[in-house]
């Protein structure tokens, strides 16, 4: 099996995610971009696992999903808390932790 098209797709998805994280201000969108990057990585894992004919990569993909789910819980909670205090979901606004 030739994984190159999967890898290319994974790279495209990852780049879209990364650019989304860098250029968008809305915390929800940024969060979604992060998820996109995680899933791009998952895609690469699964593709390579398929190519090598073992299950290691697939297991890692499951782990990533589980950890991502937990991360979503914590991350969304933080976003909601910030929204409650600042009436905004922009991630540029909470910038007090600096020099």
């Amino acid at each position: 099996m030739n994984p190159s098209s999967y890898i290319v797709l994974s790279a495209i998805l990852f780049s879209i995610g990364a650019i989304g994280v860098l250029v968008r201000r809305n915390a929800i969108i940024v969060f979604m971009s992060v998820e996109l990057m995680l899933n791009a990585a998952n895609l690469a894992f699964v593709a390579f696992a398929r190519m090598n004919g073992n299950l290691d990569g697939q297991v890692v993909a499951f782990f990533v999903m589980v950890v991502a789910a937990a991360e979503v819980v914590v991350g969304l909670a933080i976003i909601v808390t910030i929204f409650r205090t600042r009436r905004s979901a922009s991630i540029d606004e909470p910038n007090l932790l600096k020099y």
Partner: protein, 627 residues
């Protein structure tokens, strides 16, 4: 010989005055009433003990006269041992007697002199401390214990010079004496270390016993270091500058410490270490040179000073110069150095106490240009002073005639140059002492208006009379009655070299020179009017008045270079050392100030740097893979 009978009390000689000092200084104000009497009692008891020991010692044969007493082992580390042990021999006993007897007389005198001083008790405490330290110095049987006494007398001298510490000049003089003495003390300390390194011991017996085996270079080094120590304590050139300033102290102190006893400690050190100086010829030559220089410096300074105490201090320097010269002559001179030391201790104490008595009657004025004709109002002081004066210039048959002529004689035995220099200095002695006596007791009265000179109380005049009698007869009795030469010979050795001319020739020439000097001074200062204001004078007079620029030389050679180099070091420390330390701290601080600007607080810029970093890592991996 072990200590038996009266000699088992050697430790008590030192312990008595030390106990007196402790009681007076620790007891504080409640000993004010009886403290001074206790101080006199302790020293007097020591004197009586000393006399008993002398009598007992005379009963022994010459070989059995050296008595050792070990109290306990004081320092015992590895191969190093120094005991709390005393050695009483023919040399120590004469010192013990000089210190305790003259000390007792000066204690008694101080009772009158310090009668109105609020801190009289403290003064007597310090005097007792001095006597104890000086006795320890001369009784110790090893150099380390001697060093304790050596430092003790330095401390007592410091405390007593600065006794009137409300006077800035006295405080400065005390500090000066202490600092200059310290230079000499370093010499003694190094000499002790070198002795231990060479001989493995610092006790007199083993050191002198092994001295023959050491190389001449080592012995010369030890000798020169001991000479440095002697120069500091005995105010010899080039460490002489402190003695004249030391006259800021009360006059009994000048008499006891800075004339009779402490300043002669250097002579004691050299004579006690005679084995080393006899073996190290060049060190002995250095001793002679130092002695001759100081003999002349002191005499010249004494000839020009108008301050009666400073003129006497110049004379003290000069007389100690005689002793040091004699001590440098080797076995032909050691005995006479000690002989002159003894007679000088008595007559110079008499002279100083006489000067103190004059000051006491003249509102503590010391300017001789304001004295004159005082023999009319203070007969006893004038009489005793004139006896001591005739003694110091060496009129036969008074003490210094014997002791000084012996030194001149011994100088000729070594070399005519030394002899002639010593002889001419005797003439100068005649000049400056006559000048002093003429300006003080003869001529016209030049008193200040508020001065009402009067004779001092009996408590002061009786010690003067005793000292004058001692000054007159001590020399004679030590020559004819108890022969000091045979007495000291077992310790110092004695050697006589025949001279080309009979000895009466030298004596006559010396006496003639003294009389010429005295006659010149008499015409200048007794016959003629003495101006109240000091005349400008020749360059030599001005130089002598300025103590031959000793202070200026010290200033230029030591004080200012040290001062400037310390200023430079402070600058270097501030700018150089601190500059490096503070500079690196400032650099790190500044750098971190810049770097923290990258902590913007924007999460997305952090993310960008993470991405950038990841891209860089990937690129690096690619590059490595490609190459």
């Amino acid at each position: 010989m072990p200590a038996e009978g009266v000699f088992s009390l050697i430790w008590l000689l030192i312990a008595l005055p030390l106990a007196g000092a402790t009681v007076l200084l620790v007891g504080g104000r409640r000993t004010n009433a009886w403290g001074p009497y206790l101080a006199i009692l302790t020293v007097a008891t020591s004197a009586v003990l000393g006399i008993a020991m002398l009598v007992s010692m005379m009963g022994h044969s010459a070989e059995e006269r050296s008595i050792g007493q070990t109290l306990y082992s004081w320092v015992f580390v590895g191969g190093f041992q120094a005991d709390m042990a005393f050695q009483l021999d023919q040399l120590s006993i004469v010192f013990v007697l000089l210190i305790t007897i003259v000390g007792t007389l000066i204690h008694v005198y101080s009772l009158g002199y310090m009668a109105h001083d609020a801190n009289k008790r403290k003064f007597f405490g310090y005097l007792n401390l001095f006597v104890a330290a000086m006795l320890l110095l001369v009784l110790a049987n090893n150099y380390l214990l001697m060093y304790v006494g050596w430092e003790g007398v330095g401390l007592a001298s410091y405390l007593l010079i600065g006794f009137w510490l409300h006077k800035p000049s006295a405080a400065a003089a005390a500090k000066k004496a202490f600092v200059i003495n310290r230079i000499g003390d370093v010499g003694l300390g190094l000499a002790i270390m070198l002795m231990f390194a060479t001989f493995g011991s610092v006790t007199f017996g083993p050191v002198f016993g092994a001295a023959g085996e050491a190389s001449e270079g080592t012995l010369t080094a030890i000798g020169l270091l001991l000479l440095l120590a002697a120069c500091g304590k005995s105010a010899q050139f080039p460490l002489q500058a402190w003695l004249l300033d030391a006259m800021e102290g009360p006059t009994p102190v000048s008499a006891l410490i800075h004339a009779a006893t402490m300043v002669t400690a250097g002579v004691y050190l050299i004579v006690r270490s005679n084995v080393i100086f006899t073996a190290a010829e060049w060190a002995a030559v250095a001793v002679i040179i130092i002695g001759l220089i100081t003999m002349w410096m002191g005499a010249v300074i004494g000839s020009a000073k108008d301050d009666v105490k400073k003129a006497l201090a110049g004379s003290t320097m000069s007389q100690i110069g005689y002793m040091v010269t004699a001590a440098g002559l080797g076995p032909i001179g050691y005995v006479f150095a000690i002989f002159h030391l003894l007679t000088h201790g008595v007559f110079k104490a008499g002279l100083f106490l006489g000067a103190g008595s004059v000051m006491h009657g003249m509102n503590d004025n010391v300017n001789m240009r304001r004295f004159g004709a005082l023999r009319t109002v203070m007969a006893i002081t004038a009489g005793t002073f004139i006896v001591c004066y005739l003694t110091i210039i060496g009129i036969p048959p008074l003490s210094a005639f014997f002791s000084k002529d012996d030194i001149i004689h011994a100088s000729f035995e070594r070399s005519p140059v030394i002899g002639i220099l010593a002889m001419l200095a005797a003439g100068l002695t005649g000049f400056y002492m006559t000048r002093l006596v003429a300006m003080t007791f003869f001529g016209k009265a030049r008193w200040e208006d508020d001065a009402h000179p009067h004779e001092s109380p009996k408590v002061m005049t009786i010690p003067l009379v005793i000292l004058a009698i001692g000054a007159a007869f001590l020399g004679m009795s030590l020559v004819y009655w108890g022969n000091i030469e045979t007495w000291l010979e077992p310790v110092t050795g004695l050697q006589e070299v025949p001279l080309p001319l009979p000895s009466w020739v030298y004596e006559t020439v010396t006496l003639a020179l003294v009389l010429i000097g005295a006659a010149i001074a008499w015409t200048m200062y007794a016959r003629r009017e003495v101006p109240v204001e000091a005349p400008h004078g020749s360059w030599l007079t001005r130089a002598a008045r300025n103590e031959l620029y000793g202070n200026e030389v010290n200033d230029a050679l030591v004080v200012r270079p040290v001062y400037h180099s310390s200023r430079w070091l402070v600058w270097f420390d501030n700018k150089g050392v601190d500059g490096i330390v503070n500079g690196s701290a400032a650099f790190v601080g500044g750098l971190s100030g810049r770097l923290r600007r990258y902590q913007t607080g924007f999460a997305r810029s952090y993310a960008l740097s993470m991405v950038g970093g990841a891209v860089l890592v990937v690129l690096a991996l690619f590059l490595v893979r490609v190459s």
